[in-house]
Structure formats: structure tokens, C-alpha cells
Amino acid sequence: MEKRKENEIKNIYQQLVQKKVPQSSLIKDAIFAFVVGGLICDVGQFFMNLFLSFGISKDDVGYYVATVMVFLGAFLTGLGVYDNIGKYAGAGSIVPITGFANSIVSPAMEYKREGYIFGVGSKMFVIAGPILVYGISSSIIVGIIYYLVKMLAR
């Protein structure tokens, strides 16, 4: 009985808080994310066209572009610019591969003071770690499904 009353009060309070909390502006945030994310993709496309014009094959050009974009993301993080972009762009700058570079370089910079082993080395993947673990795991699962479907379809 006591517990139930307590939960009731908590529920009422949480509803009250929900009413008071200002919401993020979804439309504004989405537009920023779209524009900045789009611009990052434009930069990627620019490098892709550039590399293609150098005569790099279509199969290989993705590696070249990814390398340049990761470098740019890491470079802007090092200059202290990327977090300011992220403040406005949100997912627009987190989702592209430049954001992946940011999520690895930023903890590497932050934890340098704890040394190269227990600082940089172990904390580097503190944000990107889960993405890698679940990205690789799910790609393995998808690969197995693909293999089975292909075998059955034969």
C-alpha cells in the first residue's frame, strides 16, 4: 500500500516535469542535420569524383574517399572545430564517417593525460567501441542469413 502510493506520487511528478521541460526544436534540428550532413556528403562526393578522374577504379575509390574523410574528421577534431559543428548539426555530423573519426579521436585526446596505455589505448574506443562491436556482429549475422538464403534459393 505504501509502495503504491509512493509510485503514484512519482508518476504525478514525472508528468509534471514532462510539461515543464522545453522540447528540442525538431524541425530546426532536422534542417541543420540535413544541411550539414549533406555538405559532408558533398565533400565526400567531390573527393570521389577527383579520385575517379585520376583513373582509380570504381571498386577501389570508396577506400580512398573513406581515408580522406576519416582524416578530415580527425583533423577538425584536433583543431577543436568538430565539436562546434556537432553542437548544431547533431546526427548530421555524427552519422557520416567523419563523426566516427571524431568519436575515436576525441577520447584519445581527452585521456592522453592518463598515459598511452591506460589513457589513450584503453579509452580510445569508449564511444566507438559499441558501434564496432554491434556493427561487426550484425554484419556477421546478415552475412550468415545472406549465405543461407542464397543456398536455399539455388
Binding site: S24, S93, V105
Partner: protein, 340 residues
């Protein structure tokens, strides 16, 4: 028989200690805020010449204590006890500062409520006749708090509108059995209150019920109303938490709205300084009280105020394990002169 206790949880000090001096050191962002002229030292570089944020924070705390002592020509040997706490794991800012100071030390953890927790205990120590001079101090640092509680500084994430900005600041308060005021006269100690808020980006809402609980108990215990106070200031409820706390107090029959502010709202310009809901951290109430309010009391612009520092007692581990955020708030009354 506890002869100094009145009501449920309030102490009326019989030999009210006097605040002999205060000192505040803040970071560059705080030094651009509306209270910039009231701080003793505004750092140009928030590393304070040190190699890490943690070292910088500890130095801020240490130097604030030294400055507060120097202002009244006090040597560490003359101080009986030093009460301090901060937000870092194992309160290293405080204990590393105490290592240099050499004053008998009580380390405290009350999250951002530490200023009034330390002042409560330091005042009781003097009032009880256990000490002539005590020091209460606390600190917080945006960068050391971010890396412990949230993300690396250079990580490009977005902060929700309810989030608060940890104040880079340290404050020290020297209390003495002799002195001409302002005096600490009442102490209402907080209970841990938890209404089930789990969002670590909305700490104001998590702490508001604790602040309301302490303020209400204080008013009931003492018989005071809002009219008896010139100002009631909570520590770091910020914009949303202050509104909620004021509502709860009103529902319980006390209207303090016109006297009620929050240090997290006062220290920054919420519209131009990109701090979202306002400031937070131990250094928030410490620098606003030690810098701004203390001078207002000395000048006579304020006569009786209540400071209610508020703390969110979470840890990164408790949040990850899905625990809600318990809040606490400690109230102290400070009066410019003693009633005859």
C-alpha cells in the same frame, strides 16, 4: 536533550559563528557572466598553469582557501578544521588541496550541495565550542566534470535544452567564533528525496523536490515566511528546476516566488552564454555566495538570506544501471546582524 534543535530538522545556533572572509576563483566563461565583477580571481586559462583539469581544479580550491585566509591575515595553524568536498571521484580536488594546506580535514561528498553541507558542519563546530576558526570550501570544473560524467570535450554531441553547464569555480568561506557578522544562524539539513527522475540531463527536475522539501521544513520549523527573508537562493536547480520547486512550495502553502532565485540562473546569462537551463556544480553556489551575496550582505543590501545548495547524488554507474537520481538540499540562514 538537543537544546539547539527546533522543530523537526532545524538547528538554531546559540553562538552564531561569523563569516570572517570569503574568496572565489572562477573560470573564463564565468568571468564573462553577469557577476564577473564580484569574483576575486577570474582565470584566463582554465588549466590554471597545470597539466590536467583535475590538478587545475584542486589548485583553484587550494588558492581560494589561501586567499580567504590571506584577506584576514590568517595562517593555516590558526584554523582548527577544514571542511571540503567536490565532484571528482574520491573527492581528490579537496583532499589534494588539504594535503598542501595542512589543516585538520573533514572530506565531504554532497555532490553540488557541498557548500552548505560544509558550512553547516563548520558552523556547528564553532557554535558547539569545538573550534574558533573553521573553513568550508568546495569546487567544480566544467572540463573535469564533463570527462567524468559525460563525453570527451571534443566529441561533437548535442546537449538537450534541459542540460546544465558545470561551473568552473571554487569558493572558500572562513567562519569564526568572534567577528562582526554576517552570521550563520539557522541550519536545516537535507533528506535524500527521489521522485524517480532518471534523465541525467535534467538534474534540476531531479533535485527540485529535495530543495522544496528542505525549504518547507525550514519554514515550518522556524515559523518564518518569505517575508522574513530578503532572498532565498538554491544552488543549481537552474531554470526548470527552480520553477518546479517554486510550484511545489506554493502548493504547500508558502509563496516564496518573488524572493526565490537560483545560483545557476544568476551566474550565467542564459540567453547569450549557451548554457541551456543554467549553471550547475559545487562551484556554482560557492562562487555566487562567496562572490556576490557575501558582498551584498556586507554592504547592507541584504539582511537575511537563505542559501540552499542542491545536490544530485548520482554516479555514471548508477545512471547506466538504470537507477533514478536522488536529490539532497541543505539550507543555512545567514543574517547581517544578530537580532537583539
Amino acid at each position: 536533550m538537543a537544546e539547539k534543535k527546533i522543530g523537526l530538522h532545524t538547528i538554531k545556533l546559540k553562538n552564531p559563528p561569523s563569516i570572517l572572509s570569503t574568496a572565489t576563483i572562477v573560470g573564463p566563461k564565468e568571468g564573462e557572466g553577469p557577476l564577473k565583477d564580484y569574483f576575486d580571481i577570474v582565470l584566463e586559462d582554465d588549466l590554471f598553469g597545470e597539466k590536467s583539469w583535475e590538478k587545475a581544479e584542486s589548485k583553484m580550491l587550494r588558492e581560494a582557501v589561501r586567499l580567504a585566509m590571506n584577506k584576514i591575515n590568517l595562517s593555516p595553524d590558526q584554523v582548527d578544521y577544514f571542511f571540503a568536498g567536490d565532484l571528482l571521484n574520491q573527492i581528490i580536488s579537496s583532499s589534494f588541496a588539504a594535503r598542501e594546506l595542512g589543516i585538520p580535514f573533514f572530506g565531504l561528498y554532497g555532490a553540488c550541495s557541498t557548500l552548505t553541507e560544509a558550512m553547516s558542519l563548520a558552523a556547528m563546530m564553532v557554535d558547539g565550542g569545538f573550534a574558533d576558526i573553521t573553513i568550508a570550501a568546495t569546487s567544480s570544473h566544467f572540463s573535469s566534470a564533463e570527462r567524468q560524467f559525460r563525453f570527451p570535450l571534443e566529441h561533437g554531441n548535442q546537449r538537450p535544452p534541459t542540460s546544465q553547464w558545470t561551473v568552473t569555480g571554487a569558493g572558500a568561506v572562513v567562519l569564526g567564533s568572534k567577528g562582526g557578522g554576517p552570521y550563520i544562524t539557522y541550519i536545516t539539513t537535507g533528506r535524500v528525496v527521489d521522485f524517480g527522475i532518471k534523465d541525467a540531463n535534467n538534474m534540476g527536475a531531479a533535485m527540485a523536490p529535495a530543495a522544496a522539501d528542505t525549504i518547507l521544513r525550514h519554514l515550518k520549523d522556524t515559523g518564518f515566511t518569505a517575508a522574513d527573508y530578503d532572498l532565498i537562493m538554491t544552488g543549481d536547480l537552474a531554470k526548470i528546476g527552480r520553477e518546479i520547486a517554486a510550484d511545489i512550495i506554493k502548493q504547500n502553502g508558502y509563496d516564496i516566488t518573488t524572493k526565490f532565485t537560483d545560483a545557476g540562473i544568476e551566474i550565467f546569462d542564459l540567453t547569450t552564454q549557451d548554457v541551456h537551463a543554467g549553471g550547475s556544480g559545487c562551484g556554482c553556489s560557492a562562487s555566487v555566495f562567496g562572490g556576490y551575496l557575501y558582498k551584498q550582505l556586507i554592504n547592507g543590501n541584504l539582511n537575511r538570506i537563505m542559501i540552499v545548495s542542491t545536490g544530485a547524488l548520482l554516479s555514471p554507474t548508477s545512471t547506466q544501471q538504470g537507477e533514478s537520481i536522488p536529490g539532497i538540499a541543505h539550507a543555512i540562514t545567514i543574517e547581517r546582524s544578530l537580532m537583539p
